[in-house]
Symmetry: C2
Subunit: 321 residues, 2 copies
């Protein structure tokens, strides 16, 4: 039997509102009403995941629910904001109970881990797509944007990159069958871990930040464009995930590391005189933070090889159209 | 030539951020940053419109942009909140310039009329669907919810209802060809007018409110369920749009008036001793406000005919699955 929108909301999602003192009105009214504490700003972002584009049509519903929320939270991490609330607009062809239950479980796992309450939603009939709006808080004036990079800033990347891209390439059978993604890389692709704790540490530390969703080349490019700066990146300092060593051709390996998206690590820039703080943040979070280069006064992004020569990157990041 | 997400945003939507002093960071970063004035609460709601479900696949893109934002604003009107900001998640198969320009114009017409700034968005590739999250403000504690109706409250409906349903029925060829929708009814369906000014007047006046998107029967039902109340409605006081007199069968006419959605009028309940204020609000807004019945202590919704007998309504409102 098919379910009405209200039955579905009540059955699977209502508990996700949680006991949030700042939510004056939650799910079930025309709109949610939220208290924003004095001295805090609202930080908000929206992302849509479309079946067949952002996830495989036959992906596990738990993973779809997990990733949908995680990638939205990642946008707040990149602003040094604390995620707090979300709305969920779910479009699907049928009110399939088993699918919904698993989707809600994946969504809930991320919501609980990062302290996010679901405050509203919409359920519509149509081709499977998930749009989540994440809302969070930042101390007034403390958000870290893409546009604040200064000449001389050191450029950092958290964790490693390229692993999710390799896992995706394998799942799409675009890579030789001899290449196998590690469990860690598959996990990065299907259930990415937004760098919320790192983002919160970047307040008063970083001048600019972005999450790597479209690939380092594209996303660092956004920082440079918004900041009106250039950069020199030392390729041998880019933290490439171990899996990528299976790709023997160095050019192909570099393209994947620099152009593959979906890793949801943070790329951020830090004044040289604050670099000593980065090491202690890295230790405290048990998360590698690699300095990969320097912001320059020009508008050019230079990828520098170990021998000092310039590497010409042919492929840009993911293009949406 | 197809456009990248960033070109599209820059070309069609960037101006919509406007000069909004409360938007600290607008379109173009990982997330928007918004100042919420002290003493105000954030009010937010999300709605998705899917091609072929919520609008005809060949609908004018201007109308799609118009309606997408208007129906979201309507949810805030029903909370007695002032709309202020929106995000737009647009999923479409191709970056069609002419379509996008007209869509953006329709969206912008509504945004300007109601003082809404676009603060963020996402553009994805897939079957056409539009998800908008509307955000607004209400003085702390002054939101009007669905759950506040009190026994003895008078129940009001603004404007008239059924016109959008008749226009939809005609466009879908579900009604005899002798029936023709008026321009007003077509306008109601394609470019609905959210009752923002009325909503703002309902602060300190109404105990409960909802916008009529799924039909009076369904939406009044939500007020009753959330308030734990019943109601008696006098059918001859329900403001049925003039067009519906073309439907000769009285039962069919009533079903359309009570069950058709898409009118986006407000249904609200007011204590009997505040009824005198309704007349002056109606005059000030030049908007008819009809008292159609009374909230009762039971849980039953009774539709009363002019002769005092009960009318049994067979069809319920729009079901999403």
């Amino acid at each position: 039997m098919s379910l009405t929108e209200f039955e579905i909301i009540a059955r699977y999602f209502k508990d996700l509102t949680g006991n949030d003192e700042q939510v004056a009105v939650g799910i079930g009214d025309d709109a949610a009403v939220i208290n924003i504490p004095p001295g805090q700003q609202l930080v908000t972002s929206v992302d849509t995941l479309v079946s067949g584009i952002h996830f495989f049509a036959d992906a596990a519903p738990y993973d779809i629910g997990f990733k949908s929320l995680a990638v939205n939270i990642s946008d707040l991490a990149a602003m040094a904001a604390r995620p707090r609330w979300a709305t969920l607009a779910l479009t699907m062809l049928e009110g399939d109970s088993a699918w919904l239950q698993q989707f809600a479980e994946g969504f809930a796992a991320v919501a609980r881990r990062y302290g996010v309450s679901l405050v509203g939603g919409d359920l519509t009939h149509g081709p499977l797509a998930i749009t989540i709006q994440i809302m969070g808080l930042v101390e007034a004036g403390k958000a870290v944007t893409r546009g604040g990079a200064q000449t001389g800033d050191r450029i950092y990347v958290s964790g490693c990159i390229g692993g999710a891209g390799l896992a995706l390439g394998c799942l799409k059978k675009e890579l030789p069958t001899t290449i196998q993604p590690s469990t860690a890389s598959i996990e990065r692709l299907l259930r990415p871990e937004p760098r919320v704790a790192l983002g919160l540490e970047l307040t008063d530390l970083a001048n600019a930040a972005i999450d790597i969703s479209d690939g380092l080349a594209a996303d660092l490019g956004h920082i440079l464009e918004m900041s009106g700066k250039g950069a020199v990146i030392d390729l041998d300092r880019v933290p490439v995930c171990d899996d990528l060593m299976q790709i023997e051709n160095q050019d192909e390996r570099l393209r994947m590391a620099l152009c593959a998206g979906d890793d949801y690590e943070l790329c951020f820039t830090v004044p040289a005189n604050r670099q000593d703080k980065i090491a202690s943040v890295s230790t405290a979070l048990n998360l590698p933070l690699h300095c990969i280069g320097t912001i320059t006064a020009g508008a050019k992004l230079i990828w520098r090889k170990a021998d000092g020569s310039e590497y010409r990157l042919e492929e840009s990041g993911y293009r949406h159209f």
